[in-house]
């Protein structure tokens, strides 16, 4: 009789004991079956085979018992002793009696569990084996397959899978490569897939592939597909971050401090009110600004009562930040080249309560002439660039519109602007002498190349930006070799820092001179580089033809030098290259003179000997 089976104290579960007692009472307890119909069904397969012989009138209850037992064994990891310890304290006597039966059941249930575990392990192995087989067999698509693909509309999931596979192969190229396929083949296919899947034009795809290793490349491209979080900057002239955060939270804005690196930044997760139209915004308590725009101003570190120039100021986020740091003292020259953007610059300046600014509308290259050379303490140049670091779902046009000509044009303009910026700064300023150059681009010709150019053309050196996060700039890239101090510049990426792609460099002007030839500094003569005409004239005059002429030239050179010196201070059109050439001429002349003198001495000695 199945009901003669004593209750099983094996389980710690409280359900068991009443069930066991119920079982004892013969039929009163359909509690189990009503509680756990699903368990019954799921374990039926296993227990039914064991309990076939026992499936009589009370078959359901018996199988429940077994289910419970096997369940309990599973829960205790197949170790019956723990169960026994807890459950057996109440029912020790019964346990002794039921040992033999229990061991049967235990053995059976353990067998079931083992079988299940084995099945799982085998399934796992099989899965891994399948994956391995698939991956080993990743082949580059043949020409026929590619043509086939080109005819159909692009299959995005296919492309994505292929991109991931290629990246995986490239990271472990030796082992995973296909026979007969070179690295270039993989990279070409990757480029085609990236262009098709993400929508970049060939130039950008090429550049990104060159700049980033495969895994990071995909991270970057994925980050470019997402929007960066919106940031606010507290206007410390009017409020504090704590107060502002409280007020905005009351209005229904979900925000947080932007990070340890800024004391004035807030990042907005979501907002019930438009952040650009709250009364606090209109009263100038904060500015909506991208997180990366904080960085050049933090690097600039303007002090109170300094003279600062912001060469590309619109729409005014950085200018107003500078004014806030300076507490409305000193002077800021906010320059903007494009007239339509002046309106927003002026509006932001007034809204934020900035009073120490002069706003002008010049081409940045002209500023040294207007404001005077070596006249200001610090300059911020947030240069116009291709903006390749700002790709996001709202700015998709960048992906297809940038080409090598755009980069070259921007680079040309940036080189001129950075030289003008350096010329504006006074190297001997008491508290300053710094230029900060920043762009929102990741292209090397617009970033490191420009700083390298500045190092060669002016007497400046790179100093640390004061930003302790972000990657250092490239020192070498492909065939380019930059000055090693370029590692003090900083690069920011969306997939690393969660802000737009950005580049910041801080330069300190060492002296007000301009080296014409590399490494040959002049004295403090003010010259400009554009006067090639003067250069030619001087060359013609200084052509050496013979000793007397050389002597003449040397005198001429001296004279010219004096004239040159005088005129240099008045006009600004003299060429510095002429000066060292004159010097060289004089040196030559003097060497000639010396050798001449020696000759004469030897002659005279010979004569004396004779």
């Amino acid at each position: 009789m199945p009901m003669a089976k004593p209750p099983n104290p094996n389980s710690q579960k409280n359900e068991k004991r009443p069930q066991g007692k119920v079982d004892e009472e013969e039929g009163e307890g359909d509690v189990l079956s009503s509680k756990l119909p699903e368990e019954m069904e799921s374990l039926d397969g296993d227990s039914a085979s064991d309990n076939e012989e026992e499936e009589e009138e009370d078959g359901s209850q018996v199988s429940d018992l077994d289910d419970e037992q096997s369940r309990s064994d599973v829960s205790s990891d197949g170790d019956p002793f723990t169960d026994d310890f807890l459950g057996g304290s109440d029912e020790e006597g019964e346990e002794l009696r039921s040992e033999s039966d229990e061991s049967d059941l235990e053995a059976k249930s353990r067998a079931i569990d083992e079988a299940r575990a084995r099945a799982e392990v085998e399934a796992d192995e099989e899965l891994r084996l399948n994956i391995k087989e698939e991956s080993d067999e990743f082949r580059l698509p043949t020409k026929e397959e590619l043509e086939e693909e080109a005819r159909l509309p692009p299959n995005l999931s296919n492309l994505q899978r292929r991109i991931k596979e290629i990246v995986r192969v490239l990271t472990n190229f030796k082992t995973l490569r296909q026979e007969g396929a070179s690295r270039k083949d993989y990279i070409d296919q990757l480029k085609a897939d990236i262009m098709a899947y993400y929508g970049y034009n060939e130039f950008l795809a090429d550049t990104f592939i060159e700049m980033f290793p495969a895994v990071e490349l995909i991270e970057l491209l994925e980050a470019f597909e997402k929007n960066r979080p919106e940031c606010l900057r507290t206007n410390t002239l009017k409020t504090r971050r704590r107060d502002l955060a409280g007020v905005l939270i009351n209005r229904g804005v979900n925000l947080d401090p932007v990070g340890k690196w800024s004391k004035v930044g807030l990042v907005v997760y979501e907002s019930q009110v438009p952040t650009g139209a709250t009364p606090e915004y209109l009263a100038g308590h904060y500015m909506r600004q991208a997180a990366n725009s904080f960085l050049p101003v933090m690097a600039l570190a303007p002090q109170e009562k300094e003279r600062i120039v912001d060469m590309a100021a619109a729409p005014g986020g950085k200018t107003t930040y500078i004014a806030a740091l300076m507490k409305n003292t000193g002077v800021i020259y906010a320059n903007e080249y494009k007239e339509p953007r002046l309106k927003s610059l002026l509006a932001n300046i007034h809204r934020m309560g900035v009073t120490n600014t002069v706003v002008c509308n010049y081409d940045g290259k002209e500023l040294p002439k207007i404001l005077g050379l070596n006249s200001v303490d610090r300059v911020l140049l947030d240069a116009p660039c291709t903006g390749t670091g700002t790709v996001c779902p709202d700015q998709q046009s960048i992906k297809t519109s940038k080409s090598i000509e755009d980069v070259q044009n921007c680079a040309f303009l940036q080189k001129q602007l950075i030289l003008a910026a350096i010329d504006l700064v006074d190297a001997n300023s008491k508290s300053g002498g710094y230029v900060v150059y920043s762009t929102c681009s990741v292209m090397i010709p617009e970033n490191e190349a420009i700083i390298d150019y500045a190092l060669r053309k002016r007497d400046v050196k790179i100093v640390p930006c004061g930003l302790d996060f972000g990657r250092s700039g490239f020192i070498r890239f492909r065939e380019h070799r930059f000055h090693p101090s370029l590692e003090k510049t900083r690069r920011f990426y969306p997939h690393v820092n969660n802000m737009e792609g950005f580049f910041v460099a801080k330069l300190k002007k060492l002296s007000n001179s301009k080296p014409a030839a590399p490494g040959a500094p002049n004295t403090s003569e003010k010259t400009e580089e554009a006067a090639a005409i003067d250069d030619d004239k001087k060359l013609r005059k200084d052509a050496p033809n013979g000793k007397p002429e050389q002597l003449k030239n040397s005198r001429k050179g001296k004279g010219k030098k004096k004239i040159g010196f005088k005129s240099g201070t008045h006009s600004e059109g003299k060429v510095s290259p002429s000066k060292p050439k004159l010097r060289k001429k004089r040196k030559f002349a003097s060497r000639e003179e010396i050798s001449q003198a020696r000759e004469e001495k030897r002659k005279s000695l010979k004569k004396r000997k004779v």
């Binding site: 007020v247 650009g276 139209a277 009364p279 606090e280 209109l282 009263a283 100038g284 308590h285 009562k305 300094e306 003279r307 409305n328 003292t329 000193g330 002077v331 903007e336 002046l342 309106k343 927003s344 610059l345 002026l346 509006a347 300046i349 007034h350 809204r351 309560g353 009073t355 120490n356 600014t357 002069v358 706003v359 002008c360 509308n361 010049y362 207007i370 404001l371 005077g372």
Partner: protein, 187 residues
Amino acid sequence: MRPLDEKETAAVFEKLFKFTGPNLKHIVERPAVEGPDDPPGRYCFRLHKNRVYYASESLVRRSTNVSRARLAGIGTCIGKFTHHGSFRLTVQALDLLAAHARHKVWLKPTAEMSFLYGNSVLKSGLGRITDNVKSGDGVVVFSMTDVPLGFGVAARSTQDCRKAHADAIVVNHQADAGEYLRNEAEL
């Protein structure tokens, strides 16, 4: 950029006096700590392309080498002269006025947005008002948290405000901070 002549100065001061009263002296004679030189100079008014700017003397001196066509602004623009010669204060003067205002009005939170859209202040939106406001006085409008929102002209005196019914206009709108969004091009 040139200093204001007598008529222009009179017009500007008249408008300012409506808001500040005797505090006008503070505006004109404030020591300016902006310049990099000490002893600090003072503030002055300059006219440039029909707009009146309020800036410290040192700032003005530093802006003289910017040519007339290229100068877009110095310091704070407080208003402009219209075609026919009358002077109007613009919203950019708000900070200055708010600091030296004699008569103030505080709005209830429900009425803030309405005023920022350019509507006048009704009695129903009035939270507090300074005493002894007379009709026609310049009044600076704040929110209950002392955030300046704009300025206008009082339509009623303080007593009349108390007696007025809920829809009565108490302050006629002249300028508000919402103009930074609505009228950015015309500022």
